[in-house]
Amino acid sequence: MKKLKYRLVAVILALSITCGISVGCSTSEKKEIHNEERVKYNLSEASLINLYKGDLYAVRLSQDTITENNATVEIFAKDGEKKGELLIKNTNGSISCWDISEDRVYFVSEVMEISEESKQWENKCELYSVGIGGGEPEKIYTFNELSSVKKIRISQDGIIYCLGLKKNYEDYSDTLYLDNGETVEYSYSGEVFGSFDKTTGDFLAGETSFPVAFDERNGDVILYAFDKEKGFYFHDVKSGTDFYTNKLKQIDDMELINDNKDYVFAGGSGYTGTLAVSGISDESGVIQIDDNMIFSRCGQICAENDYICVNALEDVYSYDRNVFKYYTANVSTANPPVNIICSSFYEPLFSCGSQIKNQQLSGDGFALTVLSLDESYDLAMLSTREIYANDIKDKGSFYPLNNVPGVAEYIESCFPYVSEAAVNDKGEIWMLPISLDVCSIIYNEKNCADNSITFPNELEDFLGQIRKGAEASKYYDCSGYCITEMMINSYLSLNDSFNTDSFRSFAPLLKDMSTDKVFIANPNINVSLALSSKQINDKLGTSDVYTDTVYNGALFTTILSSSSQRNLIGDENLLAASLPYAEGAKSGAICTFVCVNPNSEHLEETLLFIERTVARLSQQQNSFILKDKNTYGSDQLAQSLYEIYANAEIYFDVPSDVYYNDLEKYFADEITLEQFISEADRKLSAYLNE
């Protein structure tokens, strides 16, 4: 028996030592991720771009078709400086696409001609090549069967791959319903993928029925196409293998950027405004590199040796086009993704050059994962509304961000109450604030003034004004739920009991409001949609009688999220007002933030991601989290929203299940106010003291 005991102890010791050594030796290979370098060229209105041996070759919109049938190609060095020009003579039309290979420029020239057969105007596409020094182009082929060529790529073995549009085709569109509830939509516009052999002079149309985009890199040709049964897929032309993935759906263009077959793409469902990279496997996420990228057509992105060049609008509100270059040596879907867990839905974080993996867990699952210090997650994303928020700070389940470059400066640049909430008693930065949301009233200044409607902070007066608005127009929207929440949360920020005269004074008002149809979401019209539609129509110069009609009568709407509020900025008739809040308190701001898992197995990469995220957050315009007023638009809505956000307060909310069920019973006359106070106080006391 004694021997057995000794053996057991020896086995346990041996196991412990083995485990200890293995843990000590487990140095996981970590790849360093640098910040991307972004170069802006002095090249407005470029129509074609290409990277060749590190230089950027570009043709300006005004230069691709000229009366003398010559095109000027400008050449820019790596640093963005212009280093020369080349003249392509007798282009015989406009250059629709091109590629540069083996010191020769291959381009497709398109010209409108009257067809001898149909006697109709038709696009004639001809393939030419010319030496890199310029000169007279040599005609290679005429694409008789194509009305347009979208893209050409010349492979190392001399084959020219191209994606064009057929002259004659049958329209086709399809919608697939995936198992995960998503839908995949596809429409066919006559695309055909084929190859042209320079040596034989033959053009071979590929067998793929519905090609979408393609690219070639170091001899590998990857085609993105649609399949009627399974949706979108990548087809490796050389090996014949297919990789199915519906994560991006229909895209406009793609360029391979590395040997891992990661690609940068234009378009794609949910990524139309970003410069983003992904991998061909279904598991690869999407890495966003920059935002406000509006590509207008195919051929506006190109990549070579870890550089990506894009030709895009400078931002979503601008029509100025320019070319930007990004260094993406370390952007790869092979790098470990940043794993983010949350227990409610949040807009995914901008990935800032990292792959992001979001996982929404149940409340219990989230608590269990955080409590167990699970290594597999890197960031916890939550808001101050959630029950866990305050305890993460108090109980230390975070990695302090004080030493991450830029974080302290960013925290300092936020509104003072945000900075205060982000730092605990020990001076540790326990969270990174991402966004603030203060539920506010957005109103049409003129329409409200015409009806003498104002928005005072005192509840009774405020409700009276809303009722007055309801009598004046049917185009209003005021959420009673939001008002109740704002009142109670602001009240609880100052009190730890409902048993006060202050609560007794406003509770009956909330009760009256709960049964008043005026404060139920307006079923007639989504006023906020009408307001934003009007703004969009005005910007685009279009007219919409319906929104015009509604807009002229629209009074106000309640908008919870700052992103939706931001969408309305630019309309000179709109203003913002805060919802009423408890006496002595301030408007309640909901702060969405991330905490770094101190036990994360990718801690180093996660901190680099935080560093890049902070750099991006610090430069945001109209962020409604930064205190510098200069970063906000000059229009009156942005300014009035700024005032509301600057004077708000973050409350770590008492979970609504502590009081809301009983409050509803009180509203429904099932219990009296005193019974509510007694029951809610009991629960509140348990919540605060257990």
Binding site: L371, D391, D394, N661, R682, K683, A686, N689, E690
Partner: protein, 217 residues
């Protein structure tokens, strides 16, 4: 530092309230449950016809999903000002397994033992005090311990019945305290209350075993 968290937990009014409620459940509901189970098992062993016909009813609570039971309970008990519904729910939910265990104990006593005692002149009282009770005692102890352990697991039923993490004070048991601290990510309170609960259960089991050993002697 050191035992700060334990002191904090042991002096927390809600931990003490939950501890009191959990112990009351053990002190009041467990004896009622075991006595009821004993009576039913005896009736089944003696072959009382109407009891035998209803024996399926004692197994039903074990197979009906908790959510279904709670739904019935909510329609039966509309007043939540007393702890009675939870106690009854606990008894009803656990009586099946107790009856099965105790009936098995009763039927495992060989009739030859009783016959031999009768031949030696033992009366009915002697038969039960000297044969039946000593022979079923280990099963009764086991049933009591099992019921005590099960009393710590009444949280799910109680939570569904009240529909909140904050039930009336009389029904706020240790599991509520731990669950709420778990949801608030309060490591310290959760860990210390879990350790204290484990010690409590361990102590109860050890005390039960000690009593059984003394009884055996």
């Amino acid at each position: 530092m050191w035992f700060d968290n334990y002191i904090k937990t042991l002096t927390n009014e809600y931990f003490l309230l939950s501890l009191k409620n959990s112990l009351l459940l053990i002190v009041i509901a467990v004896p009622i449950l075991v006595i009821l189970a004993l009576i039913i098992s005896l009736a089944l062993s003696y072959g009382i016809r109407w009891v035998r016909k209803t024996r399926v009813a004692f197994i039903l609570p074990m197979v009906i999903p908790t959510a279904g039971i709670v739904l019935i309970w909510r329609s039966l008990f509309t007043d939540s000002s007393t702890v009675l519904p939870i106690y009854l729910l606990f008894i009803w939910k656990n009586i099946g397994i107790c009856v099965v265990l105790l009936t098995a104990a009763f039927t495992s006593i060989e009739s030859s033992v009783y016959e031999a005692a009768r031949l030696d002149g033992a009366g009915s009282f002697i038969l039960h005090t000297k044969i039946t009770i000593p022979m079923i005692a280990p099963t009764v102890f086991f049933t009591v311990l099992l019921s005590i352990v099960n009393s710590f697991k009444i949280f799910k039923e109680s939570y569904l019945y009240y529909g909140t993490n904050y039930p009336p004070d009389h029904s706020y048991t240790l599991q509520y305290y731990m669950n709420n601290n778990f949801l608030k990510l309060d490591y310290q309170s959760l860990a210390t209350s879990a350790v204290l609960t484990s010690i409590l259960v361990f102590g109860i089991v050890m005390a039960g075993m000690a009593i059984q050993r003394r009884f055996d002697r």
